[in-house]
Assembly symmetry: C2
Homo-oligomer: 153 residues x 2
């Protein structure tokens, strides 16, 4: 694994993480109805930190594999959609419109993972928690929309 390539992908994750930190849950979000299975708040930064690290390692590993053109494109797409989601949901409070970047994030992470497996099984495995997490995040976004019908800007 090339360190400079890993650090470049980690910097991209840092940009996505910054939106999560700068556009974070507050009083408004606390006041919304959420499903019973919503994880406690401390889980989110812990989970994201882990997922960003794993995805940057996977990106650096996949970088070194032949036939990786499409998988690297999916990686770039997922980090852009990831960076977009928090500002739309927590910044603009457009919980319904946030389903669009969430769908883009989910799709690009799923395709990234599916494409990663045949290229490098370890990268594929490292991305599985990300698929699970964005699936849960998507379900949570959708539940919040359904439980708070008055909130859709």
């Amino acid at each position: 694994m090339d360190l400079s390539i890993f650090l470049t992908y980690l910097a991209a994750c840092g940009a996505a993480a910054a939106t999560g930190a700068m556009f974070s849950p507050g009083e408004w979000y606390d006041g919304l109805k959420k499903p019973d299975w919503t994880p406690p708040r401390w889980v989110f930064p812990t989970a994201w930190t882990t997922l960003y690290l794993l995805s940057a390692v996977a990106a650096a590993r996949l970088s070194a594999v032949e036939g990786n053109a499409q998988v690297m494109a999916f990686w770039a797409a997922q980090i852009a959609f990831n960076t977009l989601w928090s500002p739309v949901f927590f910044g603009l409070r457009k919980i319904k419109a946030a389903l669009v970047p969430m769908a883009g994030l989910w799709l690009s992470v799923v395709l990234l993972t599916l494409w990663a497996f045949p290229l490098d099984i370890w990268s594929g495995l490292m991305l599985v928690p990300y698929v699970i997490w964005v699936s849960a995040a998507g379900a949570l976004n959708l539940s919040v929309v359904r439980l708070n019908p008055g909130e859709s800007g």
Copy 2:
């Protein structure tokens, strides 16, 4: 150029473009002092649309070239910083803090372009307008910070 790879990179650009559209200049920004050389407002969406298209074409071309691992990582980093900037500047109105994603964007675009040239001269040339534009955007961000000392959150 592979169409599916091009469209994936274009989708990443779409996420970045969405922050530009959703977090856009309004009354608050109009009220800020700006340098004389600030381009008229219509230039911005026109320029960004052109730059996104060119950068997606360059990404798809570079995807097909050997030894592209670092350059693709720079591409991923620049699109994440790009997506981050508008929400920080126009969303949070943190014009000083926005210099951080702007610096990340500038650096990743410059490195992307420098790395692109030896791999594919056409991709390098297609990225030159992006370097010029983010240099101007960085200078504009810095000028706005200096001209509006009361605005730094």
